[in-house]
Amino acid sequence: MNQSRNPAAVELNHVEVVAGGRRLLRIAQLRIEPGERVALVGPNGAGKSSLLRVLGGFLAPAQGRVTVLGRSWGTQENASLSGGALRNLRAEVGQVMQGLHLVPRLTARENVILGALARADAMPLWRSWSRLYPAHLRNEADQALAELGMAERADMRADRLSGGERQKVGLARLKLQRPRLVLADEPTSALDPNATLDACRSLCATAQGATLLSVVHNTDLLAPLADRVIGLANGEIVFDVPVHGITPQRLQALYTDTPPYAYLRAPTP
């Protein structure tokens, strides 16, 4: 509970996550220091997204203890955080989810402003209801969009944007949230190579002084996004190394030596 005793940004102790009779995660020990930039790699179904969902408080562990930014929950103490504590946690944890979720009928700018809802200088309820947002948030949102090359899309409705543009709006929204921990699930999956670099720059700028935990499939992005790489397979940590310790062979082994996908290498009968 108190930060002096537990200064890690993220700490997992003997965490097991089960959903629908399937074990999604089993992590004995994981510690991420404040300011670290960590990339999660691993094949589909390895538990990367589940890990992010646990840290964001969207998925409760069946066993073990989770500590994020000084708040603990799990089976040993209070099973899950109370509504208020969970909200406070989420306000400090910025999430870029898979699936490019924006509020469809709001404009790009309005979606970006939603990132600031839980900030201390947030607006009263009537402003978000009437969509009359304060000028400083509008300016901030416009600037965040401009940094991602989206200045002229600010007034376009979110459901008219392309997949890549939505992803950029999501990143701009993250920036307005000013998180202390960033959980990014494939933050550049819908972007072209050029936009990917912009997005990484934006993500790193947002995560300046914060902790960044991202799920990455494109190995070229490991260096710009991470100092440390964690390999997951079947819900367990396979390796945990500094980014310069990553070799193509290591990744190759991680992505192919996973039983559910082993048949891909099997000779055809």
């Binding site: 969207f58 909200r87 910025g94 699936g99 009928r105 990132g115 209801w129």
Partner: protein
């Protein structure tokens, strides 16, 4: 793979057989209905349907309001021995009728409008409570749902009959009847609009640490508002049609005139009334469709 193909083929075969069985069952139901009515002798056409039809259609084809201009100015009613019983000015009488028709139309519109609005307001909390993805407490969701089901199951006219007994004759009974029945329709439409929401977007806003009411007003409300407005126009439109018959039971509006005209076999007056109803409904239909298209 090889084991899947025959199984799915068998499933398709079973599906087709099942559909044939359903069609057969439907045929049996229709035949039973028809045969039992025939056996009871209840399928009769009346004594002289053809003459009645010709007479009614003939009068119907000449709506009464044309009498304002073309009616006899001095219409004499005499008894069989020639005594003058009554004289009336058709034009004046029809002008009065048309005035009454106009007022009744306005009442009908008032009933539909206020009834729909009341229903929309009453249904809002119930719809929110019964939408599955908003995760209201189960007892609340279930009771909201059953209130909506009951309200949908009971026809406006039945509500009207009961309410006339409670609040007396007049538009108040009509407004409440419309409100109580439409509440069920609204609640269901509200819940469905909310259930088709992209919950990912809602979760994304929740993930920023926003409070429940912030999430509702920033992510849920803007997405469902256009659908709510569209639903409102649709039900309102429906209620304008529905409220034209509420007068039949004394709940105010056009229905009273309809029931008068039918009881006195005044088909030409009925024709006038129906023309007004058709004009009203068509007009509202067009306007509401325009608005709904603009909202999409």
């Amino acid at each position: 793979m090889t084991s899947l193909a025959p199984a799915s083929k068998g499933a398709a075969q079973r599906g087709r057989l099942g559909f044939a069985a359903l069609v057969l069952l439907y045929g049996v139901v229709v035949v039973v209905c028809l045969a039992s009515l025939l056996a009871a002798g209840d399928l009769s056409w009346g004594r002289n349907p053809w003459d009645n039809l010709v007479k009614s259609v003939g009068e119907f084809a000449r709506p009464s309001f044309v009498d304002i201009w073309f009616g006899p100015e001095r219409l004499e009613y005499r008894s069989s021995d020639g005594t003058l019983l009554r004289v009336e000015n058709r034009r004046e009488v029809e002008a009065q009728f048309l005035w009454a028709l106009g007022r009744a139309t306005w009442t009908t519109f008032q009933i539909a409008t206020l009834g729909s609005l009341l229903a929309a307001l009453l249904a809002l909390p119930l719809g929110l409570a019964s939408a599955r993805n908003l995760k209201a407490p189960r007892w609340l969701a279930r009771s909201a749902n059953s209130v909506l089901d009951v309200s949908r199951a009971i026809h406006t006219l039945v509500f009207g009959l009961v309410l006339v007994g409670i609040v007396g004759l007049g538009p108040m009974a009509g407004i409440l009847a419309i409100a109580l029945h439409s509440m069920g329709t609204y609640g269901k439409l509200y819940a469905e609009s909310i259930e088709t929401l992209d919950m990912g977007a809602v979760d994304a806003v929740r993930a920023t640490g926003a409070s429940g009411s912030q999430v509702f007003f920033s992510a849920v409300w803007p997405s469902v508002l256009p659908q709510f407005v569209s639903n409102h126009l649709y039900v309102w439109e429906f209620n304008i049609r529905d409220s034209t018959i509420l007068g039949l039971i004394g709940a105010g509006g056009l229905g009273l005139l309809i029931s008068e005209a039918v009881s006195l076999f005044q088909w030409s007056r009925l024709a006038s009334i129906l023309l007004v109803v058709i004009a009203l409904v068509t007009l509202f239909d067009t306007v509401s469709r325009r608005i709904r298209q603009a909202l999409a």
